[in-house]
Amino acid sequence: MKIGVVTFPGSNGDTDCMEVLRETPGCEPVLLWHKSVDLEGADALVLPGGFAHGDYLRAGAIARFSPVMREVERFAASGGPVLGICNGFQVLTEAHLLPGALLRNREILFHCAWAHVRVSSTRSPWLAGIPEGSVLRLAVAHGQGKYYADGDTLQTLQERRQVALEYCDADGNLTPKSNHNGSERNIAAVTNESGNVLGMMPHPERSTDPLLGSADGRALFSSVVSALAGVGR
């Protein structure tokens, strides 16, 4: 199973993604430069975190026009699993592959901490292997992660079960306090309508070792490998 990790100038989560993918059974990671127009046969794609193109203008606004993005759009449209982590999530919203936008955190502060999220929908292949309602402990590190969409869009997202992860306390309760960045409805991750594209603010690739605080992030990568093996892609 080949999984492509896209590197934009300013990405900083790509090597951690490569690392965890190398350690995921059945997975062969491949690094893709943002100027590449060939996905090298990848069965799934990861857009990692960082500050692509310096986050100039708006986070993700310039990265969206990197040559590789045309292929990413084509891949996503064909149903291929795409995961955008943090800055990658911002790129996917700017590219209109995911609804909504990520705004500056409610208190302006950059949050670098551990957060709990509840798995509220497992439609995405990246979450299909995790029981719904599970609580994951994942690293967050962002200044612009406050999920925003208008009221109608939020309603639709919930009705279509596109809200994938929600900030919660350790017991899975959606409390105002656990919503550290002020996201609408505690939203930490959403999918597109068909579920194959997932964007999330927390960092599963930085949550892969109990020694460092949590290994809950590994489940996403093993999940996509199982999902792909299941459909024989």
Binding site: L57, R58, A61, L103, R104, N105, R106, I108, D150, G182
Partner: protein, 86 residues
């Protein structure tokens, strides 16, 4: 073809919370500018471009705003065009 100067202002939409604006408002209040009621922080872009006419320059700049310079989901923008003196 002549050269024009597009002056573009991008600001967060009213429905979008603007913590930067709130922080600046607090700063102004702490300097005793009690009369300040609201601050919205946006950005300004000067774009020099070639176009046949002022109307055409204006049209091009609006397309640029829609496609890249503003995210119309969360931001509104305003375009003004002047004759470039450079």
């Amino acid at each position: 073809m002549r050269e024009w100067l597009g002056k573009i202002t991008v600001v967060p939409k009213p429905a979008v919370n603007d913590p930067q604006g709130i922080a600046v408002l607090d700063g102004l209040h702490s300097l005793d500018f009690e009369e300040v009621r609201q601050v919205r922080v946006g950005k300004h872009l000067d774009v020099r471009l070639q176009a046949e006419s002022q109307e055409q320059a204006n049209e091009q700049l609006n397309v640029m705003c829609e496609r890249l310079l503003a995210n119309t989901l969360i931001e509104s923008y305003e375009v003004r065009v002047e004759e470039s003196d450079e």
